[in-house]
Subunit: 176 residues, 2 copies
């Protein structure tokens, strides 16, 4: 059975720096009418980089959680930007590392109930080191942490970020 929802009308509530919010009126499969709260986002790109058994992680303050958290290097796509180019750019800007070879690794819908964001995760095989070039207003620390330690940090709940957790478990599963 297929359950399609058809848009009747849409209202732009907010236009922001990283997201827009729209509320659409839709027809449900039984003919009834409902609304859908839609966070519209350009998408993100991230890089899992494992160097000599150590994972490249950035630690940054995430205002929404009120604390600093560890994540693989990532950022949002600029308008029209190719996800692979964005991944290489974010890796370079955030950490100074330059990827010689980026392979598609995972495609993630972070929370499909209210955002259309797609996070494209790449695996970086080898990385040379350049210099960090953070965006204005961006503050973060770069860390190389042994993958066994990263696993413990996930198990203890210290690392919760979805792109990081997915990528680490996929990597561990494929390399066990």
């Amino acid at each position: 059975m297929s359950f399609i929802e058809k848009k009747i009308s849409g209202k732009r509530i907010y236009e922001g720096k990283i997201l827009n919010l729209e509320v659409d009126e839709v027809v449900l499969p039984d003919g009834s009418v409902s609304s859908r709260e839609c966070v519209r986002h350009h998408g993100g790109a991230a890089v899992l980089c494992v160097l000599d058994g150590k994972v490249l992680l950035v630690k940054q303050f995430r205002y929404l959680y009120g604390k600093e958290i560890y994540e693989i290097p990532a950022g949002k796509l600029e308008k029209g930007e190719n996800p692979k180019d964005a991944a290489a750019r974010e890796l370079r800007e955030e950490t100074g590392y330059v990827a010689n070879d980026l392979k598609p690794f995972l495609k993630i819908f972070p929370t499909p109930g209210y955002t259309d964001e797609i996070i494209h995760v790449y695996l970086a095989k080898c990385c040379g080191l350049g210099s960090q070039q953070l965006d204005k207003g961006e503050f973060l620390n770069v860390n190389l942490i042994k993958i066994e330690e990263v696993l413990k940090m996930i198990e203890s709940g210290e690392i919760c970020d979805s792109k990081t957790v997915s990528a680490i478990y996929k990597y561990l599963y494929e390399n066990k």
Copy 2:
């Protein structure tokens, strides 16, 4: 080095059914002022249930992606609801399955740049079968799919949902 952002003021832009949007003015670590777009959400609960090597998945239309996608059973917490109770409730309502034993499995921040949602994922060891009780306006199909097949669906990009991908890879890694 620690990088804290302090709230100066906040503005409620939208109050909705599943999310609120606020835009806060904050002071960054260098003393400059910026804004943070904050999607506020009560949090979610999900259940990974593996029965005789098959994974319980629901397939539902996700308006934000314009298609039906597979996810582990999940839903949002009701105000003040315990995540474990919510997980058991959503499993029962969406699939008819009743969990005898729910163990904490993962805690996920789906996309920490703009939402404060936490998704609590539980592992259901054993499940009895009751009857589905969908919410009004909720339409979905229930599927039991072999875990090897689910892995292929992740690898092909057919399954992208972050809680599902994280939970499946963790389960596969721990049971390899």
